[in-house]
């Protein structure tokens, strides 16, 4: 007797597996710093582009090496290309960093929440980036500059260790030249060739030209930087509930199944990476949570 006589639920085809990377073509690779590059990817023929929200990430796959969670750094209005800025830190990111134009990188995603741009509408906006925290914020900046009239003042503070660690160097010069945006850069240490600010991003917060009670802030960088920046913003009068942070955790899956990225009740990959700071502050304040 065949098993078909037993009324088991009907089988559905295995099609929509979340685990299958799609091979995207590397169109460009540009050097940012000594260990950081930016790649531009396009989907294979017949495969639609991947619209994304600013702040989301993809799982990028290097054939034969593995996957890593990398934030999307491009313009959300141009989803026909995916732009990722990658620092070579481990085997996967090193392999991805070495992906030459014409080669292939696998893509799963986009995953996660994004920066809540709608909540910033009609308000002043502060972006604070530390190190490689700028790439996940760049799509939000593109979006806000495209719809410049929706927002009040836009202030960006970008901090890096040294001038040589600043990414998007040329683009920053353009942004600094704009009259509808104030873009400040600061570094921890610099030589004589640096004419900009030296110091922590938090030191720039008191001088922000904002109406604090009508300000939304997006922070991305090391957790310690975000913590002190949030404190500085709060001291200036920015409401706790208007401060958002993007968190980084170990991620293998992107869909809340591998368990690695848990922070308290949240899967950072699915419930984040962007969180309202007041919702995660209590978890971040516990050592090793």
């Amino acid at each position: 007797m065949a098993a078909s006589s037993i009324p088991l639920p009907a089988s559905e085809p295995l099609g929509a597996s979340p685990w299958i990377p799609v091979p995207f073509r590397v169109e460009e690779r540009a050097s940012e710093t000594a260990d950081t590059i930016t790649i531009t990817l396009t989907p294979p023929k017949g495969i639609p582009s991947r619209p994304f929200r600013p702040g989301q990430f993809n799982m990028l796959y290097a054939f034969g090496v593995g996957e890593a969670a990398i934030s999307i750094a491009g313009d959300p209005d141009r989803p026909e290309t995916l732009v990722h800025t990658i620092r070579s830190a481990g085997p996967v990111s090193a392999a991805l960093s070495g992906a030459a134009p014409g080669s292939t990188v696998g893509v799963r995603g986009p995953y996660g929440t994004g920066w809540p741009l709608a909540s910033a509408s009609g308000k002043d906006v502060v972006l604070v980036a530390g190190g490689l925290g700028l790439p996940p914020l760049r799509p939000a900046l593109y979006e806000m500059l495209r719809h410049r009239d929706r927002y009040g003042r836009i202030e960006v503070i970008y901090g890096a260790r040294t001038p040589k660690d600043l990414v998007y160097y040329r683009q920053i010069q353009e942004w600094r030249g704009r009259s509808d945006l104030r873009f400040q850069t600061t570094v921890d240490a610099a030589g004589r060739e640096w004419y900009g600010d030296v110091g922590l991003v938090t030191a720039r917060v008191p001088d922000l030209r904002i109406d604090p009670s009508h300000t939304v802030a997006f922070l991305c960088g090391p957790e310690i930087m975000m913590k002190f920046t949030a404190q500085a913003l709060a001291a200036k009068g920015v409401p706790d509930g208007s401060i958002y942070v993007s968190l980084e955790r170990n991620m293998k899956c992107g869909v809340g199944l591998c368990g690695h990225c848990q922070l308290g009740p949240d899967f950072v990959c699915r419930d984040g990476p962007v969180f309202r700071y007041q919702d995660v502050r209590r978890f971040l304040s516990v050592r090793e949570l």
Binding site: L14, L257, C258
Partner: protein
Amino acid sequence: MSDSIAVGGRYVLERAEFPRFLLALHEAGFRVVGPTVRDGAIVYGEIREESDLPIGWTDRQAAGQYRLERRADSALFGYNVGPHSWKKYLFPAGERLWTAVRKDGSFEVHPEPVDPTPLAFLGVRACELAAMGVSDHVFAKAGDPSYAERRRRVVRIAVQCGQSGGTCFCVSMGTGPAVRTGHDLSLTEVIEANRHFFLVEIGSDAGAALLSGVPLRVAPEGDANAARAQVDRAAASMGRTMDTDGLRDLLVNNPEHPRWEIVARRCLSCTNCTMACPTCFCQTTEEVPDLSGEEVERRRRWDSCYNSGFSAVHGTSIRATTQSRYRQWLTHKLATWHDQFGESGCVGCGRCITWCPVGIDLTEETAAIRIQPAPAPVPA
């Protein structure tokens, strides 16, 4: 008489006819898996004939202890749960997700097909049905295709517990010992002075169809009562209890409780509890290239929040201490699971207690966390 068998019906299967039941499962095309004796423990494996079952065996369990012992009778299911759980069939400890080959300067990915053989789980306990329900929610929320595919091909033949193990606390977790839902069939084994039979309860149409050709008769009231008495006995003999009142908030609000440091002095961070747990789902992936580098396979395997690299970001572990890992495991299992999936991640099976090499008992740990520490002395 099988034509009239319907969901909700109760029948008697005589012990002597059990091989006929097993044969019916095989003839229906199922691979039957269930309890077997191996390496001094009852583990799940292939059941080809009834002698593969642990007939006449029982287990004695305590914190960090597990022993097989002979029973005075020849019960087929006279024991509780062992180190294995059914998750090994639905979410294998290691599996290939896909393979890929280099092609025309790019690569081509081939999803791994799932073995289409339908499985009959024989001897599923109430806590294990509950655990499968918990896993179903976790894997469905993530849209995992291979779990769903395997799960669809499973019939579940439950067995009602006639006794409790030394580390059982399903009554506290509201998951047992009575099998009430989720089964295709449930069996209650009754051994009397001169009789040995099973009360068979039909849980689904698939379950009813399994009984085609199996000699059954409608259960008389007396037999049904004798079966119920078995489950009542199990309910009355729980080895452990856990107070779940306010447990979610208790754990979430006490991450700095001194008990975490005390339990960490014993915890080996060995991962046994997470491997034995029927609901622990944490996993990692591995890329396995062949020697030529032209073909790769993507594998996933069970991972554990007790592994040092589990939380590592850029090579640095966020949870470097055993204390933080035990806290993560227990808090996730009993507390934040509610936030994530609307239920507890614990079903009260007791495996983590029995299989902990140092006998750490989560019911004892949660009770200890209920005791508020003395306030720190006020500086003069």
